[in-house]
Symmetry: C2
Subunit: 356 residues, 2 copies
C-alpha cells in the first residue's frame, strides 16, 4: 500500500484545503476570506493597526532533524506574535506564506499546519489568507501578522528615559539551552542505552528540567497577555522582544531611546535549566544568557512613578517581571558584575547579527 | 582593490539602511515605521482593507541567469499589486520579506531594492516594514500588500452571473513568449555573431517586437488603474487576475460563481509578438496563450446593463478590454474554435498547477 505521499503529489488547491481543516470559521469582520485574489476585512474601530512580518528558514532558524513539524508551525507564528506582544497589540489576523520542498511528507505538512493553527486559535488570531509555493531548497515559512492597539497605547523601543527601571519577563537562556541539548543529542545520537552512561551529555540531558528547556526552544510562548496589560496600564515607556537575545535588545532600546543602560548581572533571571546546562559545559552562564536568542521574552523600561500599573500588570499577567537594571543619562551600556568581591563595570557585549 | 562585496559581508541593520535609501519618507498615517518590532498605522476611514501575500522563489518563479535584479524586485511587488488590482483596491502599504543567499552581490541587492521601490513609489505604496534573513538555498522574496476599497465595491471571483460578458484586459501570451525567448537565448547562448545567422531562434529573437515580449515578462504592469475604475463604476460583477494563465482564471471564476463559460478562441487578444513566436515554433497560438502564465492581466465578468460604466472605465483607463466570451446557465466551460470552416466546442483546457 502506498504511503500518504509528499506535498509534491498534491495541487496547491488541495494543500490549501488541508490547511483550512485546522482553522475555525471566519469571524464576521472578514468580508472575503481564503480563496479569492486577496482577503477583504473590516478595520477595527478606534484602534490603530500593528503590522509585522517574520520568516523562519530551514537550516537557519530550525533543523528538521530535531524540530518536529508541529513545533515548526508553532514557532513560525510565535516569533511574529512576539512582535505584536512587544507593541502591546491584540492579535487580529495572519497571512501564511509557505515555500515547500516537494519531498516534504504530507503528514509533516499537516502537522506544520496544525501547530500553526493551534497557536492562532488560542490567541483568537484569524488566518485570513496566504500563499503556497514550491521551494527547490529549504522549507521557509513567512508569516505576516496584524494586531490592533489603542492609538496612544502602542509600545515602542524609543520611549525609555533616564531613571526608568528595566525589566525582563520570564526567564532567559532556556531556549538556547534547549537548542544546545537538541543539537548535542543529535550529534551524540544518544540512545536509551547511552542515556544511562556517565557522559556529561546524557547526564544533563536526561532530566525533566532539561525537557522544559527543550520545550521553551520548540514552543516559545509569545508574551501577548503581558504586552497588552503593559499597554493598557501605560506601565511601560518602551518595550521590545528578545528575539536576538537580551544584550542585543538592551543595545537597541538604548540606542532608539537615546539613553544609557546599566545592567546588574546578579539580577538576570537565568532559567535554572539553562544555568545547570551552562555550568555542566563549563560556560559562563551570564555571558551565555545575555547572547542567547529564541527566548521571546519582553524587555521593558518603566518610570518609577508608574510602578502601580506595573504591579497590576504582573498581578493580572501570566509571567513574572524581573528588574535587571536602570536607564541612565550617560549613553553607556554597561554590565555590572561582582568578581572576587568587587563590582566590575564592563561594556555589555553586542548581540547576535544575522548576516555577518 | 576589493569589490563592493556580497550581502554576507553586511549586518541586517546595514542592509535595511540600504533599502531605506530607495524609499520616500513615511506618510503621516504611519505612526511607527521601519526599525521597531512592528509598524503602527492608522486605518483609512470608510474603507475596507484588502490583504494579500505572494512569494517569488529563485528557480521556481525566476532565474537569476536571465532576470536582472531590478526586474526581480519589480516582479516581486507586481505580482502582489496585481492581486490588489483584481479586487479593485487602491494600494496602501507593503511589507517586504527577503531571504538572501549570503553570496548575493551587493549591487544585485541594491538593484532588487531599487526595482521594488520604484514600482512602489509609482503606485503611492508605502513600505511599512519587512524582514531580512539569510537563505542557505535560493533567493526568495515574500511580499505582503494592503490596499483599501469602499465596502460595497470590492471585486471578487464569485459575482459572475449567466448572461454576463467576459472581458480580458490588454493582451495575453506576451510574458510567456518573453520567458521562452530568454530561456532559448540562454540555452543557445546567442551572441552578436550568431544573431545574424539563419537559426529560428535568432531570427525571431532579434526584433524589437520580441524585446517588448521580454519586457512584459520581466516588468509586468499590474492593472491597478483599471481595477479601481471597474470597482468605482461598479462595472464588473466578478474580477480576478491571470497569474496562472487565462484558462485557469476562467475555470476558477466559473467555479467560484457557479456559472458556465463559453470562450470564443477567435476573440482572444493574443499579443502579436507572442503569436509570431508561437507560429515560428510551430505551436498552436490559442493553446499556448490560454495556458500562458505571468501576464497579470485582469479577467472580468460584466452585466450587459452596466455597459456604460465599463465604457467609462476603458475611456479613463490605460489598457483596452476585449470581450472574449460569455457566462452561461449550464456549468460547462467550453472553448469555441473555427476548424475547417465549422465551429467546434471543446472543454477549455485546465490551467497550470504549482505542485503536481
Amino acid at each position: 500500500m502506498p504511503g500518504p505521499g509528499t506535498v509534491g503529489d498534491f495541487s496547491e488547491r488541495e494543500l490549501v484545503a488541508r490547511i483550512r481543516r485546522h482553522l475555525p470559521p471566519a469571524p464576521d469582520w472578514v468580508l472575503v476570506g481564503i480563496g479569492d485574489d486577496a482577503a477583504v476585512v473590516e478595520p477595527e474601530r478606534n484602534r490603530v493597526e500593528v503590522l509585522s512580518v517574520d520568516a523562519i528558514v530551514e537550516g537557519v532558524h530550525f533543523d528538521r532533524a530535531f524540530v518536529p513539524p508541529d513545533a515548526i508551525g508553532h514557532r513560525a507564528l510565535a516569533v511574529n506574535l512576539s512582535d505584536l506582544a512587544a507593541m502591546g497589540a491584540a492579535p487580529r489576523l495572519a497571512l501564511l506564506s509557505l515555500a515547500l520542498p516537494p519531498a516534504l511528507p504530507l503528514p509533516d505538512f499537516d502537522a506544520i499546519a496544525s501547530g500553526f493553527a493551534a497557536l492562532a486559535t488560542r490567541h483568537q488570531l484569524h488566518v485570513a489568507g496566504g500563499n503556497l509555493t514550491r521551494s527547490p531548497g529549504p522549507l521557509m515559512i513567512d508569516v505576516t501578522v496584524m494586531g490592533t492597539v489603542k492609538r496612544r497605547q502602542a509600545l515602542t523601543r524609543r520611549g525609555a528615559r533616564p531613571g526608568d527601571d528595566l525589566y525582563v519577563s520570564g526567564t532567559i537562556g532556556a531556549a538556547a539551552a534547549g537548542l544546545r541539548l537538541l543539537q548535542e543529542r543529535r550529534t551524540h545520537a544518544v540512545t536509551e542505552d547511552t542515556l544511562t552512561s556517565a557522559s556529561p551529555v546524557s547526564r544533563v540531558a536526561a532530566g525533566s528540567e532539561m525537557e522544559r528547556c527543550i520545550q521553551r526552544y520548540l514552543r516559545p510562548e509569545p508574551r501577548l497577555r503581558m504586552g497588552m496589560l503593559l499597554a493598557r496600564n501605560r506601565a511601560a515607556g518602551a518595550c521590545m522582544d528578545l528575539s536576538d537575545g537580551l544584550a542585543d535588545a538592551v543595545h537597541q532600546m538604548a540606542e532608539a531611546s537615546g539613553v544609557g543602560v546599566s545592567i546588574d548581572a546578579a539580577a538576570l533571571p537565568i532559567d535554572p535549566c539553562a544555568r545547570e546546562l551552562f555550568d555542566a559545559r563549563g560556560l559562563d552562564a551570564v555571558t551565555e544568557a545575555l547572547s542567547a536568542g529564541d527566548d521571546y521574552e519582553l524587555l521593558l523600561a518603566s518610570r518609577p512613578r508608574t510602578r502601580r500599573g506595573l504591579t497590576a500588570a504582573v498581578r493580572h499577567g501570566d509571567v513574572p517581571l524581573t528588574r535587571i537594571g536602570r536607564c541612565t543619562e550617560d549613553r553607556l551600556v554597561t554590565l555590572h558584575r561582582t568578581a572576587k568581591g568587587s563590582i566590575d563595570a564592563v561594556p555589555l557585549p553586542q548581540g547576535y547579527s544575522h548576516f555577518r
